[in-house]
């Protein structure tokens, strides 16, 4: 397993380089122009000058090389400078966003807290709810609990957040006035009271997001449990006289985890990717909102950087999932 992990890590480097090239090519090819949001009152000659100032006049490989250098050479040194107070990157041009003209990584760092607070919490909550629901639904297939669970989770999944988000705002913010409809990203948690304020403003977005994620994970958990509950080894375990709890929670559950681990591993990078629509609806302004505004503004360096970080996380977590397969089911071997 160790050699496998090391081999995959080594292989990840060319994979990621290739992915970054494909993303870059895609963005170059995509129609769109950073001047799209400039008012029509600005004459075309001025727009042309603005494009040149952004470096749009360069050939694509020059632009790609610039980005590679900034991302892999300048930014790590900036990070080191920030941690140790050194001056390795002094005078180097960092990767700048076209919209804000400021270093992309600074904005990303600024956005991480609210993204983790909201999307991360939603994910944890969803997994904590989904696993028991999935297990119990399968164990008691077609019971009332299972049917209600199926009903709620399917509706939860088929109602898109652009609707459910506004619905909970209308109910809980407008009618009842319990929770704020706008997330305050400048809020700092310092004591119990400010923590409660933070909780209050997180409730609605977490609720909407968790509903979607729960539905998805619970369905896969249930299906996988059902597949395993009838296997021979379960009968054997029962025949051995093992308690029901041990049979279900250690034997069946462990063998049912493979698809669930896959789904969760696919989901964790999206915590970082943020939740585009939910963030918009509640004005959380995390990474998801950053990405969508960058796409709308055709802010190429920003989109490229965010998608690339996302790609790194995807490759990493899929590797982790593969390693977990081997732990969950030692028969799976990659060598």
């Amino acid at each position: 397993m160790l050699t496998f992990t090391i081999r995959r890590l080594v292989l990840a480097v060319p994979t990621l380089l290739f992915i970054s090239l494909v993303i870059f090519g895609l963005l170059m090819l995509a129609p769109g122009d950073p001047m799209a949001q400039v008012p029509l009152t600005v004459p075309p000659e001025v727009k042309q000058k603005m494009r040149e100032a952004l470096g749009l006049g360069d050939a694509w490989y020059v632009q790609y090389w610039k980005w590679l250098r900034q991302f892999f050479w300048v930014e790590p040194r900036v990070l080191i400078d920030a941690i140790f107070g050194t001056e390795f990157a002094a005078g180097e041009l960092r990767a700048l966003s076209w919209q804000t003209r400021s270093p992309i990584m600074d904005i990303v760092v600024q956005r991480i807290p609210q993204t983790l607070w909201v999307v991360g919490t939603a994910y944890v909550v969803a997994v904590l709810i989904a696993l028991p629901i999935g297990i119990y639904s399968a164990y008691r297939q077609y019971s009332l609990f299972d049917n209600v669970g199926t009903f709620v989770s399917m509706i939860g999944f088929s109602v898109p957040p652009f609707f459910s988000g506004v619905l909970v705002i209308v109910i809980f913010s407008v009618q009842l006035g319990w929770f704020p409809s706008i997330y305050d990203t400048t809020h700092k948690v310092t004591d119990w009271d400010s923590f409660m304020i933070q909780l209050r403003q997180m409730v609605l977005p977490v609720m909407v997001l968790a509903l979607q994620i729960t539905a998805q994970i619970a369905r896969f958990m249930r299906a996988s449990m059902l597949d395993n509950l009838n296997q021979d080894y379960v009968r054997t375990a029962r025949a051995k006289g093992l308690g029901e709890r041990v049979v279900v929670l250690s034997h069946v559950l462990r063998n049912s985890m493979i698809p669930v681990v896959t789904v969760i591993a696919l989901g964790i990078p999206s915590i970082f990717g943020g939740a585009i629509i939910t963030e918009q609806v509640f004005k959380v302004n995390g990474i998801g909102q950053l990405l969508i505004t960058a796409i709308q503004a055709n802010d190429l360096p920003m989109v490229q950087t965010l998608t690339f970080i996302f790609a790194v996380l995807i490759v990493m977590f899929n590797l982790i999932a593969d390693v977990l397969y081997g732990i969950l089911d030692p028969r799976i071997r990659y060598d």
Binding site: F163, L229, I258
Partner: protein, 322 residues
């Protein structure tokens, strides 16, 4: 092969009941049938699946045959009848331009159902194919899974925009505008949503491949294609079924997102996703306008889910005869 031990029955159950059940089932009371007849009979006795199937067929029937009996066209604007609630003339009310919501729901359903189902099938096919191949053939695993990583990482919106840019005109020229756009949308959704299925199926296949029955089948010289079709695929059907139900909801919503990029059907063409989106601003004045498409989408997804449950149970030989 037949094992009636369902979890419901065993619980802290004493052995006698099980033994009696085993005895009952093992007496063949029907002549032997082909595998598919067996599956069908099993499926027919699945209450949830039958109810789901009937409702699903009803939805399809209303949506496709309904407009033949309903005189108002979905795009007809009757400006005097704006924002009306349900009435005899407009059972579902009218929208902000006075278009009949019943007609729009039916027309929208045609698009949403066809796009949702076709795109879901395409994504399932791609996902299962890649997943099975990667899980089964070790030499394909790395290549296919890194491709999956790539597709997972690609930003969706620019990808869709590039697809329109490259393919809209050629497809329009080859198939005419309506079919051309339909193909474009289905392919766009299918190509961008197969990856989770592929990852999940692969994970299951990796584990299955090492199971005893596969080793047994291999030892008697089963070919790879037979092995995949007879032993592997039927055993990964449950994650595929779940992906299908989630996929159909996903496809219907994604279609509405596409239309905002100018990638979808012309803007006066209703679909359930778009009806829902357009109605969100009017949620407080005319709640029925969000409820209708919301219910339609949820109902479709639910019925497909129960159909899938039935199919899964019917394909699982261990719980047959329950």
């Amino acid at each position: 092969m037949t094992d009636p031990n369902t979890p419901q029955q065993i619980e802290p159950g004493p052995g006698e009941v099980q033994a009696a059940d085993v005895m009952k089932v093992q007496v063949p009371n029907t002549p032997p049938r082909s595998q598919w007849a067996e599956v069908w009979s099993q499926f027919r006795h699945h209450k949830g699946a039958m109810a789901g199937g009937i409702i699903f067929l009803l939805i399809v029937l209303v949506v496709f045959a309904g407009p033949l009996f309903w005189p108002i066209e979905a795009t007809f604007i009757d400006i005097r009848a704006r924002n009306q609630g349900p009435s005899l003339a407009h059972p579902f009310g009218t929208d902000q331009l006075g278009r009949d919501m019943l007609a729009r729901m039916m027309a929208g359903g045609q698009v949403s159902l066809s796009v949702g189902i076709t795109a879901m099938l395409l994504a399932l096919f791609l996902g299962s194919l890649v997943g099975v191949m990667a899980g089964y053939f070790k030499w394909l695993d790395n290549l296919l899974m890194r491709t999956t990583d790539l597709f997972l990482a690609l930003p969706l919106l620019p990808l869709l925009l590039v697809m329109v840019l490259l393919f809209r005109e050629p497809l329009n020229a080859a198939f005419g505008p309506e079919t051309g756009i339909f193909i474009l949308i289905v392919v766009a959704i299918g190509v961008t949503s197969w990856m989770p299925t592929a990852r999940i199926v692969r994970g299951d296949v990796l584990a299955l491949k090492e199971r005893e029955f596969v080793l047994a089948a291999r030892s008697i010289g089963t070919t790879d294609s037979k092995m995949i079709l007879r032993h592997i695929l039927p055993n990964v059907i449950s994650p595929i079924v779940v992906s299908a139900t989630l996929g159909i909801a996903n496809a219907i919503i994604t279609e509405s997102a596409l239309s905002f990029l100018g990638l979808g059907f012309p803007p006066d063409f209703p679909t359930w996703g778009r009806l829902l989106f357009d109605a969100v601003d009017y949620m407080q004045q005319n709640p029925e306008r969000v409820i209708l498409p919301g219910v339609a989408i949820s109902l479709t997804v639910l019925t497909v889910n129960y159909l899938g449950d039935g199919l899964r149970d019917a394909l699982d030989p261990r719980i047959r005869g329950r």
